[in-house]
């Protein structure tokens, strides 16, 4: 489908970034931290206040990421620091169910809605009292006594190395809590809808989600991020997923924020034996998006599937950093990321696979394929395998190419116009990822979105 170059084409060394966080910028980090500190909720239980205090201190120590750091080499976050960052206010927009209907994927789901990081009970669709599926906002959980929350919240996502995760841990406003009981299957998918509505530049939504699937439970979650405003907002979201033995969770993140928004997301799954996690990350929006998607395969028989599709045009930068940590023997992971980049868009894919010393009989596979639709589009792709066990099967492949002339000619030779042929091939490349999504209405809506995005009549 794409003409593959023999070697992944390394992009030229990044030019000196226009804006590099300087020492004075690092001082600004303190100002930012102070701005958020004022908004810190006092109602949190003591154990969490301890964690938040430590995370705040850690954020200060880590400092704002720069392109001099390996993890941020291709992704210059400095423009974020230029924003007048502040916690987005509650109720900054009056939003009705009608306003958000178009974000529903036409999906019959339990829905939790957050606007600028704040829970909007009036926009939610929640199940009747249900002992099997607990669904609500995190603040609600924290107000009561919840051992599950205390045991898991902020225990899995790494606040030690990642500035934004630490920032989130220290200052998150609210988020979703989803917990499904042992052996149960959620009757409907759960849709977590995050809406950016503030018109204030620098308005920051800090969302924190906790998803728990007990032994043998089955659950499908859609986490979507959209905008109702075109302001240069910042979303910083962290989702922790904990899968018990034999649990089966599909998590589909769809990021379609406005072209001026900044989006930073971190997802950390922790998987017990024989659990299965399917992650999808569909990223089409925002000016700059960074997705950190990680799973820890923590007992034998655990399997993870990480799918991703990023579509960039104009000046967008879309970055995916994934980590699959094979900590124990007999686990499996399959990673499949596709990128389509047009105009001057920049894609980054960094796929780490760790195979620890104990993780014999690991089977890990990673593929990243990229379609560059213009001469000015750039992709930096970097597989990174660190293998400490000797009896494992690990493969990886990265490809960068353009639309295949041969395939286009074949379609045209049957009467299909050049532009339609091009669109069919782009869509086919994207569909390869979309069709792996196990929630039918989401798949259908995304296919439609793709068709519209690559329809030249719309441009």
């Amino acid at each position: 489908m794409i003409d593959t170059l023999k070697q992944p084409k390394a992009s030229p060394a990044p030019e000196p970034a226009a804006i590099i966080p300087s020492d004075s910028d690092q001082q600004r980090v303190q100002v930012v931290l102070d701005a958020f500190a004022n908004a810190d909720a006092d109602g949190f239980p003591p154990w969490l206040r301890t964690i938040r205090g430590a995370a705040r201190a850690q954020a200060g120590r880590i400092g704002f990421p720069t392109t001099r750091q390996e993890e941020w080499k291709f992704t210059n976050m400095a423009p974020v620091l230029q924003l007048p960052l502040h916690p987005a206010e509650k109720g900054s927009a009056k939003i009705t169910r009608q306003d958000i209907a178009r974000f529903s994927f036409g999906l019959d789901a339990h829905r939790l809605v957050f606007v600028d990081g704040h829970f909007c009970a009036n926009l939610c669709s929640l199940p009747d009292e249900d002992n099997d599926l607990q669904l609500g906002n995190l603040l609600g959980q924290l107000a009561g006594d919840s051992p599950d929350v205390e045991k898991n919240l902020a225990r899995h996502a790494d606040s030690n190395a990642n500035f934004f995760t630490a920032l989130n841990t220290a200052f998150f406003q609210d988020g979703a809590f989803v917990s499904i009981a042992a052996g149960k299957t959620a009757a409907k998918p759960v849709h977590l809808l995050f809406i950016g509505a503030s018109e204030q530049p620098g308005a920051t939504a800090l969302s924190r989600n906790l998803i728990l699937a007990q032994r043998g439970a089955r659950l499908k979650v859609i986490e979507s991020h959209v905008s109702l405003s075109d302001a240069a907002r910042l979303t910083n979201t962290v989702t922790e997923l904990v899968l018990g033995p034999g649990a089966d969770v599909e998590h589909c993140k769809v990021q379609q924020e406005s072209g001026r928004a900044f989006h930073i997301a971190s997802i950390q799954a922790v998987q017990a034996g024989d659990s299965r996690w399917i992650s999808h990350s569909i990223a089409t929006g925002s000016r700059l998006a960074r997705n950190q998607i990680q799973t820890l395969l923590n007992a034998g028989g655990a399997a993870a599937v990480l799918n991703g599709l990023y579509l960039g045009d104009a000046e967008q930068l879309i970055d995916h950093h994934t980590v699959v940590d094979h900590a124990r023997a007999h686990c499996e992971s399959h990673e499949f990321y596709h990128g389509i980049l047009a105009d001057r868009a920049h894609g980054v894919f960094n796929g780490k696979i760790f195979v620890r010393q104990d993780a014999q009989k690991t089977n890990a596979k990673q593929t990243n394929r990229n379609l560059l639709l213009s001469d000015n589009a750039v992709i930096d792709t970097k597989p990174q395998l660190e293998i400490f066990a000797d009896d494992v099967k690990c493969t990886h492949g990265a490809a960068i190419g353009q639309l295949s002339d041969e395939a286009a000619f074949y379609l045209r030779s049957r009467g299909i116009g050049a532009e339609q042929a091009r669109r069919m091939l782009i869509q086919a490349f994207a569909s390869d990822v979309i069709e792996r999504i196990g929630i039918e209405p989401v798949r259908t809506r995304l296919e439609q979105m793709l068709a519209e995005r690559f329809d030249p009549a719309k441009e």
Binding site: S404, E406, F409, L411, R412, S413, A428
Partner: protein, 254 residues
């Protein structure tokens, strides 16, 4: 229907076709035979509009229109069809929706109504029978994972659906076992009509036992060096091509 006059074409500055002349009329089946590297496939690709080949001289008229000026899709819409020697696999593009889009583009160009899904599927059903093609293949991506024989059969199936005026079969026999060859040839024969024509490009005489040509041409060193009836194919089978080399050489330096 097709008039090729002094056609010269090449790739990256290397001339391949050198003053090739050929005329095909409606209702006729022509065979073009020739050794490897003689320019057979180049001719097929140039006629279909592949831009990798550069036309450096000559004219091609297709039903009176200047074929070389037309885009590949316009050639197809005007009724030209190439059954590829190596049909490309296109993952992610569904066979059925691809062919429906193609047919409707061709129908639009011919001033016919577009077919809806039900009408199209009825047509497909009829044509798959003709080629004894497993309909399950059509729910897959274009040619993806098809065997060599299935790919060739799928080419002729597409031809059956699109009903071209001129079909060019580029080595359709290569990679086919004898049973598949009979089915493919049978399909081509059933599609013959007084108002369409077929250009069969082949290496071997075998296919011509099943698709009997009216006229056989020998293409060597980029030009037609001999034209005859179907018995010429048998002669080539018996004698090879070497005896014609002299003719080719003398034609090249008149």
């Amino acid at each position: 229907m097709l008039e090729i006059c002094n056609l010269c074409a090449g790739v990256e500055g290397n001339p391949i076709l050198k003053n090739l002349n050929l005329q095909v009329n409606a209702g006729e089946v022509h065979a073009i035979m020739g050794p490897n590297g003689s320019g057979k496939s180049t001719l097929a690709q140039v006629l279909a509009g592949r831009s990798d080949y550069e036309v450096t001289g000559g004219t091609v008229l297709f039903n009176g229109a200047d074929l070389l000026e037309m885009k590949p899709e316009d050639r197809a819409r005007a009724g030209l069809f190439l059954a590829f020697q190596y049909p490309v696999e296109i993952p992610g593009v569904n066979s059925t929706s691809f062919l429906k889009a193609a047919l409707n583009e061709c129908r639009k160009a011919r001033g016919q109504e577009e077919l809806d899904a039900v009408e199209f599927l009825a047509l497909v059903k009829k044509k798959t029978k003709l080629l004894e093609l497993d309909p399950a293949l059509l729910s897959r991506s274009v040619n993806e994972g098809f065997s060599g024989g299935e790919k060739k059969r799928n080419e002729i199936f597409q031809m059956a659906v699109l009903e071209p005026r001129l079909a060019i079969l580029d080595e359709t026999d290569s990679g086919l076992d004898i049973d598949a060859l009979k089915i493919v040839a049978g399909g081509v024969n059933k599609l013959r009509r007084p108002d369409n024509a077929t250009l069969v490009i082949t290496h071997y005489q075998r296919l011509l036992n099943y698709i009997v040509p009216d006229i056989v041409h020998v293409l060597m060193q980029g030009r037609i060096v001999r034209t005859g009836g179907k018995e010429l194919a048998l002669e080539l089978e018996a004698r090879g091509y070497d005896w014609l080399l002299e003719t080719a050489a003398s034609n090249a330096n008149p």
